[in-house]
């Protein structure tokens, strides 16, 4: 797309972000993370449905960034993990190592039914367990997949924005 066309479509679209009301019963996190939350996403074995919802949550319509949350590449830069999927055998050790690489204070947010309680994959031969069976979980977002607004509610609970 040429720069001219890009500029024209940007100008036409303006803002698409929806206003969202905060959720009063969202789980609170450590007080150091109020206002600023960087998360490292770990796919422990998901079907990628939750990843699409997370991408949408950080996209223009739901825009989680306006509440102080951001996805980062390195767990060292992160305040916690956003884990999707049931924990498969091959991802059990990497998940633990990723959490160990994250500096304190840190949180783990389990996104989707598979992360909370293995969902439809419970009992599968390649599955070790839910995220809570491998690492301690601080917040859970049920749903298969969860709505982007549910993801944002959980993030806002921690950033208190």
């Amino acid at each position: 797309m040429s720069a001219q066309n890009l500029w024209r479509s940007l100008w036409r679209v303006r803002r698409v972000t929806e206003a969202l009301a905060p959720d009063a019963d969202a789980t609170a996190g450590p007080e150091e993370l109020i206002g600023s939350l960087q998360l490292r996403h770990v796919d422990a074995g998901s079907c990628n449905g939750c990843e699409l919802e997370i991408a949408s949550a950080f996209g223009p319509v739901y825009d989680a960034e306006r509440f102080g949350a951001r996805l980062v590449a390195s767990p060292r830069h992160a305040d916690g993990l956003l884990v999707t999927g049931p924990v498969t055998r091959n991802m059990a050790v990497p998940l633990v190592k990723t959490l160990e690489a994250t500096p304190h204070p840190r949180i783990v947010i389990a996104v989707g039914d598979c992360a909370c309680d293995c969902g439809v994959f419970r009992g599968g031969y390649g599955v070790v367990g839910s995220v809570g069976d491998v690492v301690p979980v601080d917040a859970s977002i049920p749903g298969c997949p969860p709505d982007p607004t549910a993801i944002i509610d959980a993030l806002r609970g921690i950033t208190r924005r």
Partner: protein, 320 residues
């Protein structure tokens, strides 16, 4: 006014420059992200979000990789220290900051090089593949940008017959028409490309990338956490702001304080903030329309900048 109060005002001006670059740097990064968000149709994080991030980082734990040496914790502090010293002595708010007699453009370039070199070493300190990759790419890009940078300094120093930055700024103030000469325009064009390369912005490097194989600067700092990461973030923001500040004062120095009184310094501060904000905004808009260049296309870009700088020098000799 006697020499004592001159020095006091100079020191005040230098301190204000350092604070402006440090605080303003983070605000500039927030502003650039906000502009990008608005162009993408989003609201985006608040402009002060980078400051909240840095404050949070200071409350986090410090980590050290098991193979790391004293280079690892030293690098972020040296990065911020050298950029702060550079910010104190360059003419940003006033043409007479502290130590301005020794404020040489060449010295500025090498002062910034200390921070990047040490950061490159720190990237290799953890003993991982990412760190080595980031360091390797960063020093290669730095090496290819050097010729353009030094020939640009040669071109810009021609009008003032000196590479002393306050002298160049004062010469530009005295002769505003000199900015529109082909010599200056070519040199400033080359300088802009080099600034983009040195501060790791698009199209040379994408600061927001998550793919390690596309990282140049991010890969070097992958191991930093907590306060060390805060220092690195602040240092990088300061470096960008400082370079943009030098650039705007070479293009349009009007507003900079030339006399040693506090009112002039205040005016200089306000105009600096305004000018850097405008350039930062323009850079942010440009970044929305640019994709990152493939690593092995960068030599062509930097060679182009070098040719621009050389044209600047040659046109200066011809037009004379």
């Amino acid at each position: 006014m006697n020499a004592g109060s001159h020095t006091v005002v100079a020191v005040i001006a230098s301190c204000s420059q350092v604070v402006a670059v440090a605080v303003g740097g983070l605000v500039l990064i927030g502003l650039m992200r906000k502009v990008r968000a608005h162009l993408e149709g989003r609201v985006g994080a608040p402009i002060l979000q980078p400051m909240f991030d840095v404050r949070k980082l200071f409350r986090k734990e410090r980590l050290r990789p098991d193979q790391a040496t004293w280079i690892f914790p030293l690098a972020p502090v040296v990065l911020v220290a050298t950029v702060a010293v550079a910010a104190a002595i360059t003419p940003l708010v006033t043409t007479g900051p502290a130590l301005s007699t020794g404020s040489d453009f060449f010295a500025l370039v090498y002062l910034l090089l200390v921070g990047s070199t040490l950061l490159a070493l720190a990237g290799m300190d953890a003993g991982t593949a990412f760190g080595g990759m980031g360091s390797s790419r960063a020093v290669t890009i730095g090496a290819l940008a050097e010729p353009a940078l030094l020939v640009t300094i040669l071109a810009l120093s021609a009008t003032a017959h000196s590479s002393n930055l306050p002298a160049i700024v004062r010469a530009t103030l005295a002769d505003p028409g000199s900015v529109a000469t082909p010599q200056r325009l070519f040199a400033l064009g080359a300088l802009l490309v080099v600034i983009v390369a040195e501060s790791g912005r698009l199209p040379v490097d994408n600061p927001a990338t998550h793919l390690e194989l596309t990282m140049v600067h991010e890969a070097m700092i992958l191991e930093y956490a907590g306060p060390d990461l805060a220092f690195v973030t602040v240092g990088e923001a300061m470096r960008l702001t400082l370079l943009l500040g030098v650039f705007v004062n070479l293009v349009a120095p009007w507003g900079i304080a030339t006399t040693t009184n506090v009112a002039a310094v205040a005016v200089g501060l306000v105009t600096l903030v305004a000018k850097v904000a405008v350039v930062g905004l323009a850079l942010a808009v440009f970044e929305v329309f640019t994709a990152k260049l493939r690593l092995f296309r960068l030599p062509e870009l930097l060679a182009g900048a070098f040719v621009l700088a050389l044209l600047g020098v040659v046109s200066g000799l011809v037009v004379k």
